[in-house]
């Protein structure tokens, strides 16, 4: 709500500067900012009662502990009930309905410059003096008003929910809206003339030629108005107020004020006022325990202090004992329900800043040991040169389809910001691909990035949410270093990088298994298992899955950190030999129907069985010249060591024989010198 400072200052009868005044309101809960000569109030939705000059004045007086008196000039009216004017009002949606009928209007002048400026500053356009005046009274008192052209109304009025759904009505401004039967409406004998509390029909609106008007002031129930304006795309100043709650006791005052101000700018023959109402639900007084309040706030206020503050805010004392005070809630305070609501009023006026701060309290000592693996994995990646990135999780159906298995169903937004990105991501790679692409364009040739975040899918009757830790390595240095040293990054660099990462968590039983399809990866990919639990995958990125974002080889990994647990068991030390070790190399030629892992698995099995064999490694592979087609040569290095002596050549040779035999038997290998 925007209010001209000059106008507000006069209304409040204060000499405070604009800055000071803004500060005073901000401090008691009505945040405001200064914009040139205007104060912009950001009124929270629980305080609809402050959306007027009078509301601001009531608060302003209260926290200065000044009494609030109504000093507005009015023309007193006699309110009559007459079913030929207002027939019925629906109890569910309408508490009271008032119509001020004015006939024979003439010599209508514009609002004076001061009021016009005030309205313009508030962002309310000037339309017609009769309407402008209604808007002015709304800003002044807080009661939204609607002005009908009385000549176009076929009385009596009914305030009711339509019997039919989707009744088309041309509203002010010319748009046609199909009115749902959930909307409270103002109907005359011809049909719907207004959506209650939101907007009137074009048909019954006032024009330059209007000489008879019906001015409406009413109390519509907030719960029936809220969401209605949005439904029709019609957020108006009136709906904003009705949604938050308009004081059900100010309608008569508003109309009397309207009439008074109208008589300053126009002549008329006759003014009479009609109303219909349902007796309002009586609000319950709220009990306040003095002791409980003081323990809640940390203050030591006495009954007299409490009464003074609350009474200035319009809460009348209903009953009192030495320990309890009971207050009536004023009709405009829709937000007051429980004792704590009164506490807030007291603390607000006492000043939050005047409440002493205590030393922070600590929680009970934790007994649970939390899984630290996630932070260690992140740290490991950072040390390995990866940059952490974050992306928005919205993706296009194409991106989702290219990165996720067809058996998954995406989580789809009903109201996405961007129509093209209506799905929640099912993989982190989409964002990472774009990030690589963006930075290649910026001139980076070598990029290591990772992201930690959730991915989503739809399940049978809910949604799944899994944490992924994914990364990409794009390594295409434009220049080698000055010594032409080459830096190659390939699948096996990635493999060692991931093993290193997992081993920093103390994990040693890491297994890799080939799988036929892993999304986002080419066929050069592996699934990773720890204790037979699938904890992620690594591989060469399938460039097709990047939807042409990437054109050069790139490696990636996807880990599921929720399945990875640090191995925090104690280290078990083994005795180690004091004697030197020896190594022997063995060149085998093996059919390519075997993969290295077959050899590795077999040799691992026998390592424990051959007495002095400690370890083996693959040191070279070769195929081509001199190697039969369909075969490959592997050079294996075997390490021998005894715990009790230095081994003799003959002892090692005999054990090497055993190794050769095993290889021959299992893989039909031949040997090369």
């Amino acid at each position: 709500m925007n209010i001209s400072y000059a106008y507000l200052k006069d209304f409040l009868n204060t000499r405070l500067s604009q800055k000071k005044l803004a500060e005073v309101f901000t401090k008691v809960g009505f945040e405001c900012e200064i914009n040139k000569s205007i104060i912009e109030f950001d009124i929270t939705p629980n305080r609809g009662d402050v959306l007027s000059l009078r509301g601001l004045q009531r608060e302003f007086n209260a926290f200065q502990l000044k009494n609030f008196k109504n000093s507005l000039k009015v023309t007193k009216l006699n309110f009559k009930k007459d079913r030929s004017v207002i027939n019925q009002i629906d109890k569910k949606g309408c508490g009271n309905y008032h119509l001020l009928l004015i006939r024979g209007l003439s010599k209508i002048k514009k609002l004076d410059a001061k009021k016009s400026k005030f309205l313009t500053a508030a962002g309310i356009p000037l339309i017609n003096p009769l309407v402008d005046l209604g808007n002015y009274v709304m800003l002044e008192i807080g009661a939204p008003m609607h002005v009908f052209d009385l000549s176009k109304l076929a009385l009596p009025i009914n305030v009711t929910f339509p019997k039919l759904n989707d009744v088309p009505v041309r509203v002010i401004g010319g748009d046609i809206k199909n009115i749902k039967n959930s909307a409270l409406t103002i109907q005359d004998q011809a049909g719907i003339q207004a959506i209650a509390g939101i907007i009137g029909s074009e048909e019954s609106s006032v024009s330059k030629r209007t000489s008879n008007i019906a001015v409406e002031a009413a109390f519509f129930k907030p719960e029936k108005i809220v969401n209605q304006a949005r439904k029709y795309g019609l957020a108006t100043d009136a709906s904003h107020r009705f949604e938050r709650g308009v004081d059900p006791k100010i309608q008569k005052l508003a109309l009397e004020r309207y009439l008074f101000l109208l008589s300053e700018i126009a002549s008329f023959n006759k003014a009479e006022c009609f109303f219909s109402e349902h007796s309002p639900k009586s609000t319950k007084p709220i009990n306040l325990s003095i002791e409980r309040f003081n323990s809640f706030s940390g203050l030591g206020l006495e009954a007299k202090d409490i009464k003074k503050i609350l009474q200035h805010l319009g809460f009348d004392l209903f009953a009192e004992t030495s320990k309890y005070l009971k207050f009536n809630v004023p009709s405009h305070r829709f937000d007051m329900q429980i004792e704590e609501d009164l506490y807030e009023e007291l603390l607000r006026c006492y000043g939050y800043d005047n409440i002493p701060a205590n030393k922070p309290k600590s929680g009970p000592k934790k007994t649970r040991i939390s899984n630290n693996s996630l932070s260690k994995l992140r740290l490991g990646l950072i040390y390995a040169g990866f940059k952490e990135l974050m992306h928005m999780p919205f993706v296009s159906p194409e991106t989702y389809a290219s990165l996720n298995s067809h058996s998954l169903v995406p989580a789809e937004l009903i109201n996405p910001i961007n129509e093209n990105e209506s799905l929640m991501r099912g993989s982190l790679f989409g964002g990472l691909f774009s990030a690589i692409n963006l930075n290649i364009k910026k001139g980076y040739a070598s990029i290591k990035i990772f992201e930690l975040g959730n991915v989503f899918n739809k399940t049978k009757d809910s949604f799944s949410q899994d944490t992924h830790l994914s990364g990409l390595i794009y390594h295409h240095e434009l220049k080698k270093n000055w010594g032409s040293k080459e830096f190659l990054y390939d699948f096996f660099s990635l493999k060692s990088e991931i093993i290193k990462l997992l081993e920093t968590l103390g994990i040693t039983d890491i297994q890799f298994k080939q799988s036929s399809i892993i999304n986002a990866f080419s066929s050069n990919a592996l699934n990773i298992y720890i204790s037979n639990k699938h904890i992620g995958s690594i591989g060469e990125i399938n460039l097709l899955a990047t939807q042409k974002v990437l054109k050069k080889p790139c490696y990636g990994f996807e880990l599921y950190p929720e399945r990875i647990f640090e191995d925090i068991s104690n280290t078990k030390l083994c005795t180690f030999s004091k004697f030197p070790s020896s190594s022997r190399d063995l060149n085998i030629i093996i059919d390519k129907s075997f993969v290295y892992k077959d050899v590795d698995d077999k040799l691992s099995q026998i390592t424990n069985k051959i007495k002095n064999l400690k370890a083996f490694t693959l040191i070279n592979i070769f195929e081509g010249k001199g190697i039969p087609d369909g075969s490959i040569s592997m050079t294996l290095r075997f390490i021998f060591q005894s715990s009790s002596k230095s081994l003799l050549d003959a002892e090692i040779s005999s054990e090497m024989e055993q190794v050769s035999l095993v290889l021959k038997k299992n893989f039909k290998v031949s040997f090369r010198a």
Binding site: E344, K359, K361, N415, S446, K448, N481
Partner: protein, 326 residues
């Protein structure tokens, strides 16, 4: 003992004809090694009478320093040595320096502070039902307060309405239902609002704290917040609490800090937990009270690092990210 006067000259002469590093070190051993004149002369000092001992020792020392210097200087000018020498000023091999995202860094900084106060960390679900995101937090259906949160809704055939959480307060409800009291918890995580411009992102990061304990009062809340802010910014802060409104707290407050010459800046929201929220989680409000606070991590990060455009954090621009230390 006779100290040969021409020792330095002899060394100089011999150094001139040195061809390789090996020859150089041989020569050095001859003059400064264990068997050299100088070193053996030191061991002979013992037998001399005291006066002579002092003056000879001094002379020997001077000579040793001069010789050492001579060999050091000539090593650097030795042709043979020069050939082996690297231009060590050449640049290092290319390397990658990793770093944490600034949003993670700030989140972790907050988490660290509250972990030290024994707050437990729960991160919760990003896809949530209407109940945990709104209803249990005292946002009645058809309440204008819901309009403060532009909510993303998900397409679902299930009976409950699913949405992207608009705050991490949903985690507080889950925790209050599952954990035992007293509860000191922090819920960091991503939250979503259906709105996007220069200062708003459809996804951002929030950290909320919740304490439920006996004898809590508004002063405890204030103290916890002030202590956190001063620790976070590592300086005495001007902190202002002003009344505000959140459906799940009563009373509610916004907290402003004075930051540089920019005047008061809103930094977080907080309040005493609304009794409806506690009661909804089966917590006896005669025994327990709660306070809660919440902050936007992007906003904290913007202030902390002086970032002007919130979108930079999600731009993946390495030129931006490379400026942050690991």
């Amino acid at each position: 003992m006779q100290i040969p006067q021409d020792l330095i000259d002899t060394a100089k002469l011999k150094l001139k004809s040195v061809q390789s590093e090996a020859e150089f070190f041989q020569l050095r051993a001859q003059f400064l090694g264990k068997k050299s004149f100088i070193i053996s002369a030191f061991s002979e000092l013992k037998g001399l009478d005291p006066d002579l001992k002092v003056s000879t020792a001094r002379d020997l020392n001077i000579l040793k320093v001069k010789l050492t210097q001579l060999f050091e200087d000539s090593f650097n000018t030795l042709d043979a040595h020069k050939q082996n020498m690297l231009d060590v000023s050449l640049p290092e091999d290319p390397y990658h320096l990793g770093s944490e995202h600034p949003i993670s860094k700030i989140s972790n900084k907050v988490i660290e502070h509250f972990s030290a106060l024994n707050y437990q960390i729960f991160s919760g679900n990003e896809i949530e039902t209407d109940y945990y995101n709104f209803e249990a937090l005292n946002f009645p259906e058809n309440h204008p307060a819901r309009q403060m949160h532009d909510t993303f809704y998900l397409n679902s055939d299930a009976s409950s309405e699913f949405l992207l959480r608009t705050h991490t307060s949903n985690t507080q409800i889950h925790s209050m239902l599952e954990e035992s009291m007293p509860l000191y918890m922090l819920s960091p995580g991503r939250v979503y609002r259906c709105d996007s411009d220069n200062t708003h992102l459809p996804m951002f990061t929030q950290i909320e704290g919740l304490v439920v304990d006996v004898d809590l009062n508004f002063g405890d809340l204030k103290g916890t917040i002030i202590d956190f802010l001063e620790n976070f910014f590592n300086e005495r802060m001007d902190v202002r609490f002003r009344p505000s409104y959140f459906p799940f707290t009563e009373p509610s407050a916004e907290v402003d800090i004075k930051f540089g010459n920019r005047g008061w800046l809103e930094i977080l929201g907080c309040g005493m937990v609304h009794p409806n929220v506690l009661q909804g989680c089966n917590i006896d409000t005669n025994t327990y009270r709660g306070f809660a606070f919440g902050m936007g991590v992007e906003r904290l990060a913007m202030l902390y690092y002086g970032v002007n455009d919130i979108r930079d954090f999600y731009s993946s621009n390495l030129d931006f990210l490379n400026q942050f230390k690991p």
